[in-house]
């Protein structure tokens, strides 16, 4: 069993494993643990194993499509795929939606030879909390199934942590890639808004949505982003600009890099006491890698967080109002409450949120003249207990929404554990379209630490077997 895309890709080329073996091993873990962890909404065993066999044949014939060739990946079930219907983990979504087949991001992964293993669980429509009264799995944290794995890309985050695939696609409107990344002890990247096309993805907040990778390491995320990035005119917000070399800059050194750190300790009532020390340990490693680390204070933190929550609710409400009117009870309780908040937001207030985003962009751009990267905790605590889970607590615990208001690239990397043994994440943020620097910093950190390679007991057992 291989933990990272990078290692599996090397093993494939060294003849130490095959794509079919990687895919079978991933499905074996799912067979053993998915009933408890709620990672998959649907599995594509037949097509995945056929794609794996094709990848093996191609590699044997000297056809090498790059580091994702033959690698098993999961896809969040709000993104369309050829294999079948998309549910958004909801009774509401018209099952004919997505009939056009693969979203551009999925087509790009397939074009790079990736093996799509299935569709992964989410919060309904990527918002709310799991609803036990609806006929969908409750995602659970592989580190402790009594705790939440984070959302809304719950299945992709939990699946990477559990070894059910080596990487996958999530989406992030207020933190939904970085939240499961921090809770599950894996790496997740929300790239710059517009960098990856989101056509073929069920929307939540049109001007806040991102599709991005979750995997064990920054190097793996770099390999995935290299395939995912690039313009597609079917997404009105897709940006047409050259794609950088994301893997070429992974040197392991941060010499000359200026990093500003805001621990955000006063912003959440859920902050665990050990967070400050864990973050200090992480920033010490950044310093040891050559970076200059200085304290900063993020401007307009509460206001920009509010700008995301207000704007996201308003945009989501516009999409959902027809169904909220006629099928209120078919929505999960948490989802309908979160989305209907948009009915209480006047249009002028929505526009004001957009104006504040512009002010925030200017202020943060000014901050980025003094530093090259910014670091914060991803969340104030580890995964919350499922039995006490509330949407308000989720929102309160996260330090991610700020960056959806601004659009900057932001990545969560594992940086340690709570005293209860739950993972904590460090968030690394860069200038717009400077994903390369974010990934390079994450890689340098992961060259000096092993938090991203720590595995929950169930993976340790699979490795031992």
């Amino acid at each position: 069993m291989y933990l990272t895309i990078t290692d599996a890709a090397a093993a494939l080329r060294a003849g130490q494993t095959t794509s079919v073996e990687l895919t079978q091993a991933a499905f074996a873990v799912a067979d053993a643990h998915d009933a408890e962890l709620g990672v998959y909404l649907s599995r594509f065993d037949e097509t995945a194993l056929a794609a794996a066999a094709t990848a093996d044949a191609e590699l044997a014939a000297g056809i090498d499509k790059g580091p994702l060739h033959g690698i098993p990946l999961g896809v969040k079930d709000i993104i369309a795929t050829d294999e079948g219907e998309t549910t958004a983990q909801s009774l509401i979504l018209d099952r004919a939606w997505g009939a056009q087949g693969d979203a551009p991001v999925v087509a790009r992964l397939r074009g790079a030879g990736a093996v799509i293993t299935g569709k992964t669980s989410t919060m309904e429509y990527a918002i709310g909390i799991p609803d036990p009264e609806k006929p969908f799995p409750i995602p659970r944290n592989p580190w402790n199934p009594e705790h939440y794995p984070g959302g809304s890309s719950s299945g992709t985050g939990g699946g990477v942590a559990a070894g059910m695939f080596l990487g996958g696609l999530g989406t992030d409107t207020g933190g939904s890639i970085r939240f499961p990344a921090t809770n599950c002890g894996v790496t997740g990247l929300k790239q710059t808004f517009g960098r990856v096309p989101k056509y073929g993805c069920v929307p939540l907040g049109y001007s806040y949505d991102h599709i991005g990778p979750l995997a064990r390491s920054a190097a793996d995320c770099a390999a995935m982003l290299a395939v995912l990035a690039g313009h597609d005119p079917r997404d009105a917000t897709s940006v047409d600009r050259p794609v950088d070399d994301y893997t070429g800059g992974l040197t392991g050194s941060l010499a000359g890099i200026r990093i500003g750190v805001d621990p955000l300790l006063g912003h959440s009532a859920l902050t665990v006491p050990e967070l400050a020390a864990v973050l200090d340990g992480a920033t010490a490693e950044l310093r040891a890698a050559g970076a200059t680390v200085t304290p900063i204070e993020l401007p307009l933190y509460a206001e920009l967080t509010a700008a995301t929550m207000v704007g996201m609710a308003a945009e989501a409400y516009a999409y959902h109002r027809p169904d909220l009117r006629t099928r209120w009870d078919d929505y999960g309780a948490g989802t309908r409450m979160a989305v209907s908040a948009g009915a209480l937001i006047p249009a002028g207030d929505y526009v004001q949120a957009q104006r504040v985003r512009r002010v925030g962009q200017r202020k943060v751009a000014e901050l980025f003249t003094e530093v090259d990267l910014i670091v914060t905790p991803t969340s104030a605590c580890g995964g919350l207990k499922l039995e006490k889970l509330s949407f308000d607590d989720i929102i309160d615990s996260l330090h991610t929404q700020y960056w959806n208001a601004l659009g900057n690239p932001a990545m969560s990397v594992p940086m340690g554990f709570t005293t209860d043994g739950l993972p904590l994440g460090m968030q690394i943020i860069g200038r717009p379209f400077d994903e390369a620097s974010v990934l390079a910093a994450g890689h340098a950190y992961q060259q000096r630490t092993s938090w991203h390679l720590r595995v929950p007991d169930l993976v340790a057992q699979a490795l031992a077997a």
């Binding site: 207000v310 009915a343 104006r355």
Partner: protein, 61 residues
Amino acid sequence: MDADPAVLVPALLQAAGLTPSQEEVATMIADYPGRAAAIESLYAVREARYEEPDLVFRALL
């Protein structure tokens, strides 16, 4: 905040054609002051007074 959430929230929900349960309406009423305060904080950003929003619209598809 001048308006009474116990009056305003049910009225806005009715205008939107939404039919939450009484318990859900009570939760929304309780949450409303916090949301209203968050929105007020957006208007307190002095630099936004003459800022233009970046709304997506193109004359050509």
